[in-house]
């Protein structure tokens, strides 16, 4: 339960930061997607995963009402979580692949290769840091 509560706080905070103008060299890392996928390694229960995604969507400021963009982003988050379970490699590799695919899908409107590559690099680095934190803190996840 502690892990789930921590994941809720992390998703909420990451969505808040995502709404801000925070960027590294003009490119914003996708903190929300990283946090969702990192905790997706820990939480196998789809009810809990659904809560993480819905909390992220409820906190992010995407558009004034429920529109196509919101549904698209939500679908991409769920797809990325599903890829962790269904890709054929180890789960950390699946998570990294899902992160790159999710980043590409979110950036597909107005795609710029340099922006995508930088964002993917930031996202993978952040995922690595979170996995390292999980390892050092002794939290159990499937490798």
């Amino acid at each position: 339960m502690l892990v789930f509560c921590t994941s809720l706080v992390a998703v909420f905070l990451s969505a808040f930061i995502q709404n801000s103008n925070f960027a590294i060299l003009g490119v914003k890392p996708n903190l929300v997607l990283v946090v969702i996928l990192a905790f997706g390694l820990l939480e196998k229960d789809w009810l809990k995963r659904a809560i993480l995604v819905l909390l992220a969507i409820a906190t992010l400021i995407i558009e004034p009402g429920l529109g196509l963009k919101t549904i698209l982003i939500m679908s991409i988050f769920f797809l990325a979580l599903a890829l962790i379970d269904f890709l054929p490699w180890r789960e950390i590799a699946n998570s990294a692949s899902a992160l790159v695919i999710g980043t590409l899908l979110i950036d597909v409107g107005g795609f710029q290769l340099s922006v995508f590559l930088m964002e993917a690099l930031y996202n993978l680095s952040l995922l690595g840091i979170l996995v390292l934190i999980f390892t050092l803190s002794g939290v159990k996840y499937s490798k």
């Binding site: 969505a15 808040f16 995502q18 709404n19 801000s20 103008n21 960027a23 003009g26 490119v27 914003k28 996708n30 929300v32 009810l47 809990k48 659904a50 809560i51 819905l54 909390l55 969507i57 409820a58 906190t59 992010l60 400021i61 995407i62 558009e63 004034p64 009402g65 429920l66 919101t70 939500m74 979110i106 950036d107 409107g109 107005g110 710029q112 922006v115 964002e119």
Partner: protein
Amino acid sequence: MRRERYILIIAIILLVFVILAANLFFDFKISLNKSVASVLGAFAPNDEFQRQILLLQQENANLKAQLFKEAIVPQDSAIVYSSYPFNNKSEIVISWGTNEGVAVGDVVAYGNNIIVGQVREVTAKNSVVTTIFDPNFETAVRIGTGSVDALMRGGNELTLEFIPGDANIEVGDRVVTASPEFPYGLELGQIKVIDTKGGSVFKSATLEASFEIKALRNVSILH
């Protein structure tokens, strides 16, 4: 175990309600983010200095664009709350809505002279603005003192197309709006690179915008 499942299901129902009723919570989310941003800003003074430098550069660009105007008309301005949360610069949210007389299609500018975009959606207190960086944004423009006609297309990189091959344009030339849907002469940016395709009737160019999305804090509405 069962009790935990029920709690999770109730949480999902509540979150789905919040998402479905997004328009009811939109203004609240904007206000909350504004409050959090002001608190976080106090912990990042270097970011604040960089933001101020960008702001001063933009103000300088705006004043240069006003060079031949007789007077600067002071005007109330709307606050820019946020941009689309990911790396797409195509939309921003501003603090004026129907309460302040904003309507869909209104032009949004930095100062009175630099075009930022056009209002796409309006609520009572806020508006969503499609910026010139939207991939679907395009408008007729004129380049430099020679008033060379061209078409500007939006996107992360702004491009000018259909520039006559024999047109006399240079890097640094100012580009302004020349379409009936916008007030004439609003500045878009300056030419950064000119691409003369060998043998083609037209040449193209890329544009450096006169403003940075992430540094925008105030904009004005031109009806």
